[in-house]
Amino acid sequence: MVEERLSRIQACLSNVQDPELPFLSITELGMIRGCEIDQNGTAVILLTPTYSGCPATDAIQDDISEAVSEFETNFRVKLVHSPAWTTDWIDNDTREKMKRHGIAPPDGNSADKAFLLGKERKVSCPRCRSANTKMISAFGSTACKAHFQCESCLEPFDHFKCI
């Protein structure tokens, strides 16, 4: 009974899209940290923001409420900060999906601080796969992205920052 209820919610959450990356779900981005039933019988959905100030977080909470309220009345969304969100939670299939949509996924893992600090950027072009790319802007269209350009095919593209 409880498991059925939770798995229904989980399934529903995997259909809630990220407002900025509508081809990805919030589950694929690793923003759902779990779902549990508390002592009052309320389903608690644990959500973690990608960046502290990401303005999409409020919209995502609304989208979750709208989707889940279609079949569940007793639930709430709880924001959790720990452990801090990391791109390590984005799996390989999701990274491939990003590439198909023209976004260079976070490369490697966040423990590689040299990468984070810009000492060595191994970002390859999501379009032509060339490794000959340059960063145009350290900050991009959203908090989670930086802007790059491919030196081979000249295509500018977003890169999902590795944190």
Binding site: P49, Y51, S52, V80, S82, A84, S137, F139, G140
Partner: protein
């Protein structure tokens, strides 16, 4: 003790909130599109950190004040941000130098909080902020180096920015009854302990930027006890006007 924690959280939240508001003034006015986006993005991260700390400050206070009550319905004398973050933006060099001085401090403070604070929520917010501020610190220090080691004009101007801002940096590391009690309880670090690593980090950056660290010539203080420059009042007037004119307004 609970009151000290509330006070400590307010300082963290106010530093981030006031600097976010200042940086937000650059939106649409940056010297290049990339920098316009960068300063706005940094402002957004800081605003997120401010929201988390002010929300927690309200909870730990226990009087039912939320982040909005604390941000919009306190007077200038009730804000406890450091003076550095309320100073007017000046030119891009002034802004980026202030950012560099603050980022290096904020990074050390958040690292210490995330590693040492026995308050789980404080350390969680700090751990998240570390990741964001590390990126900011990289950006601002690269700009200081680029401007310092750039043309004679940019070198001269960024050195002047540094000289002007320097007397506001001492306040960042000034301990008082609040920070000493928080440190004794294992909740927040002693600020004085951060000063040496900060100076080393700044030394490294300034060396590469071919800039000269100014002599210590007195420290401007007062922010932590609510005694601010007049600039804060103007900033708050703009930031608070809407919720004060239309309390409870919703989008």
């Amino acid at each position: 003790m609970e009151n000290h924690l509330h006070a400590g959280l307010l300082r963290l939240g106010d530093d981030a909130l006031i600097l976010a508001q200042r940086l937000g003034e650059w939106c649409g006015h940056g010297p290049a599109l990339e920098e316009d986006i960068a300063l706005s993005n940094v402002a957004l991260d800081l605003l997120g950190q401010a929201r988390a700390f002010l929300t927690l400050a309200g909870e730990r206070e226990g009087n039912g004040r939320d982040e909005d009550a604390l941000a919009y319905f306190r007077t200038d004398r009730e804000f406890t941000n450091a003076l550095l973050v309320e100073l007017p933006n000046g030119d891009f060099g002034d802004t980026i130098m202030r950012q560099c001085l603050f980022d290096q401090f904020a990074l050390l403070r958040y690292e210490a909080l995330s590693a040492q604070s026995i308050d789980k929520e404080v350390s969680a917010i700090a751990a998240k902020a570390v990741k964001e501020v590390r990126y900011h610190a990289e950006h601002s220090s690269q700009w200081v180096i680029r401007l310092g080691d750039g043309t004679s004009e940019s070198h001269h101007r960024i050195q002047k920015s540094l000289n002007r801002l320097w007397s506001y940096t001492g306040e960042l590391f000034a301990d008082d009854a609040v920070t000493e009690s928080l440190a004794a309880d294992g909740l927040m670090p002693l600020l004085a302990n951060l000063q040496k690593p900060w100076q080393e980090a700044m030394n490294q950056i300034l060396l590469e930027a071919t800039l000269v660290m100014p002599e210590n010539s007195g420290t401007q203080t007062g922010g932590r006890s609510g005694l601010h420059t007049e600039h804060l009042s103007y900033l708050l007037a703009e930031m608070q006007v809407l919720p004060r004119t239309y309390p409870g307004a919703q989008w």
